[in-house]
């Protein structure tokens, strides 16, 4: 059976995920239980949603380093607004709007002034982090019944008498499905792939490169803000100091998911598997108990290396065999 080269990284990601799951199930009782699997989605929901935004940005050949800060900013903004007596819906709506506008601003600078995305989002990362501390310098618990009762219990979907799907996991799955459709079945999605493949060609084909660029960072800002909302669902609090370095985890998930960091090649589904792989590594270390926490970054770093080398080999092979295994196929 012949498999197109663009699916090889995706298959490798699936293989890693399944092997990790198999190793976990063989080594520890209860690793494969329904509760652990459901929690895997719930615990990694905000990372997953942030990684969805990061996937769009990276597919277009850009990068967004402001993700973690925007999550922290959104979470403290919601906690603070709810604490001041706003309704949860108004607070969430306002926070989503703020995050989206933040993305618009960054996209505008990147697109109009042709500044490197890396630099603009780096400044954005500082800005959002500081703004979060300006809203409220300490973490703030949310005591509104909407968060404590409705989201925590009312909106979770019971599977059997002991396990139920938390609302955060539902949010992630919904966002993922929408992202899947946007990336692969819309004009906007195809424009992103085309830009990531070759920006000049995309412009020559008549694609609105500048507008798409602003839209991509807007979308990423929205995803980060949404991840911040889900974070408040998950922890029932807001904290301006949280999620430091989450953008790197999101990028790691995208890379492990088989997306080329230079853009143009990759799959939304790969990113979801990448997020699950990161979560499962953490689970394995937690189950093992006697492994020190510092092995997590070392293992993640190693996985990034393996996937980059794999992609390099594929790109090199595709060049050797001419256009048959074309990069943007």
């Amino acid at each position: 059976m012949r498999i197109s080269a663009k699916y090889i990284p995706l298959l490798a990601t699936a293989l890693v995920l399944l092997s990790l799951y198999a190793v976990g199930c063989i080594s520890f009782t209860g690793f494969g239980s329904l509760r652990v699997v459901v929690d895997l989605f719930g615990d990694n929901s905000f990372l997953g949603i942030a990684a969805v935004g990061a996937t769009f940005v990276i597919l277009s050949g850009g990068i967004d380093l402001s993700v973690g800060s925007v999550i922290a900013f959104t979470s403290i903004l919601i906690a603070s607004l709810v604490g001041h007596g706003f309704s949860p819906f108004a607070a969430i709506g306002f926070a989503l709007l703020a995050g989206t506008l933040f993305g618009v601003l960054m996209g505008f600078l990147i697109s109009v002034f042709e500044m490197p995305p890396f630099l603009v989002t780096l400044a954005g990362m500082f800005l959002a982090r500081g703004l979060g501390f300006m809203v409220n310098p300490q973490s703030l618990a949310i005591t509104h019944p909407f968060f404590l009762e409705r989201v925590a219990n009312g909106l979770s979907i019971p599977l059997n008498d002991r396990v139920s799907i938390p609302f955060t996991a539902t949010c992630y799955v919904i966002v993922f499905i929408i992202a899947l459709v946007v990336a692969h079945y819309t004009r906007f999605g195809r424009a992103i792939y085309a830009m990531g493949g070759d920006q000049h060609s995309a412009a020559l084909m008549g694609l609105p490169v500048g507008r798409t660029k602003i839209m991509i960072y807007t979308l990423s800002g929205f995803c980060s803000a949404l991840a911040g909302v889900v974070y408040t669902f998950y922890t029932q609090s807001g904290d301006p100091a949280v999620c430091v370095g989450l953008e790197l985890q999101a990028i790691a998930a995208v890379v492990i998911g088989g997306t080329l960091l230079s853009g143009g090649v990759g799959f939304m589904a790969g990113t979801a598997m990448g997020v699950l792989i990161l979560g499962m590594i953490q689970n394995l270390i937690n189950f093992k108990g006697d492994i020190n926490s510092w092995w997590t970054p070392i293992i993640v770093g190693f996985l990034i290396l393996v996937f980059i080398l794999l992609q390099n080999a594929i790109v090199a092979a595709s060049k050797r065999f001419g256009g048959r295994l074309s990069k943007t196929a």
């Binding site: 042709e114 790197l248 890379v255 070392i298 980059i308």
Partner: protein, 349 residues
């Protein structure tokens, strides 16, 4: 590729003149920014310019800026050359943590001489830089990704070395690196200036600087010209590792301990910003070591200004980010073109 051909084709004297002008115009912005910031402090912040001699060493806010800015200055030197090749090194903060961890572990071991401690920690830092260099130069992996690996894994490695502990030390020679002073000036400042001298000599008095610029400007063209681009890239990342190692020693020595989690955290961002403020383009091809030093001082002066004006350390990133965005927007070719167009229209009228 055509631009490279015309550059080599133009007369050498004309090119030299052009370079002189560029050097000034690019250093003008960061120096103007720094001057503006100092002027603001001269008027509004009391005691900012007060410098006094105590126990044979200089004290004052200005000296503090130099002293605290020295880590970013060191990092920015290595980062300048990396960025000049069109790359970026995200791992310098993690390398700082590793170098500090190695030094702290070794200094507490009986029978290990001080020079060995320094040599081994710097060698480990250079090895870490060489790892980045191999990935970028030999395996041709994009720099952001290649150095991301060590940025993620590096802190884990540093914790592995210190066994997850914060290792303290009291050795007078090691604490001198971050806290001592020589001829009135803090030792880290002299160390940074020394490294600036070394880097400037190596790049401006030998062909290395030209190689770095040509690789960053047009790798294909420079390969045809006989330059081994991979080797040049390997060298700049190794040098960046060395600078990060020195900064790591200063950081550990400052607080007399190796803190793997916090040593050099986010300093890679400060270093990159210092380089960009200094006029070096992120796309590579031209670099300004002195500009990077001014950029590092600008960032530190901004930070110190905010501390002195009682801005909380947590909120401090906001004005910092805004200042950096403004500087970068002004430096972007698009904005420069628009400003130039405004002036041209006026002269025509």
């Amino acid at each position: 590729m055509s631009s490279a051909v015309t550059t080599t084709g133009s007369s050498s004297s004309g090119r030299f003149q052009k370079k002189e002008i560029r050097w000034w115009s690019s250093l003008m912005w960061p120096v103007a920014g720094l001057a503006l910031l100092l002027l603001f402090n001269l008027i509004f912040t009391q005691g900012f310019f007060h410098v006094e001699v105590r126990d044979g060493r200089l004290y004052g806010v200005l000296i503090d800026i130099l002293n605290h800015g020295s880590k970013v200055m060191l990092l920015a030197l290595g980062m300048t050359l990396v960025i000049a090749t069109g790359g970026v090194d995200l791992s310098v903060g993690a390398i700082m943590a590793i170098a500090g961890a190695v030094a702290a572990q070794l200094i507490n071991k009986p029978g290990v001489s001080f020079p060995t401690v320094i040599a081994v920690s710097l060698a480990v830092a250079v090895a870490a830089g060489s790892w980045n260099g191999s990935l970028v130069g030999l395996l041709k992996i994009q720099p952001i990704v290649a150095t991301l690996i060590l940025m993620v894994a590096g802190r884990g490695i540093a914790q592995l070395i210190t066994d997850g502990q914060i290792i303290t030390f009291t050795d007078a020679r090691l604490t001198y690196i971050g806290n001592g002073s020589l001829g009135g000036l803090p030792f880290p400042v002299l160390l940074s200036l020394g490294m600036l001298g070394v880097a400037a000599l190596l790049t401006r008095k030998t062909a290395i600087g030209l190689f770095v610029e040509s690789v960053g400007d047009n790798q294909t063209a420079s390969t045809y010209a006989g330059i081994r681009a991979g080797r040049v890239k390997f060298l700049v990342y190794a040098f960046s590792g060395l600078c990060a190692g020195l900064a790591g020693l200063v950081a550990a020595s400052n607080i007399k301990c190796a803190d793997s989690n916090h040593a050099g955290l986010f300093l890679e961002l400060d270093a990159i910003l210092a380089v960009v403020i200094g006029g070096t383009s992120l796309t590579g091809g031209r670099f300004y070591l002195a500009g990077a030093i001014v950029g590092a001082l600008f960032i530190q002066a901004l930070t110190t200004t905010m501390y002195m004006r009682n801005v909380s350390a947590d909120v401090a990133p906001v004005p910092k980010a805004l200042a950096i965005l403004i500087v970068c927007v002004l430096q972007s070719p698009v904005a420069r073109g628009k400003i130039a167009a405004v002036f041209r229209r006026r002269t025509v009228q």
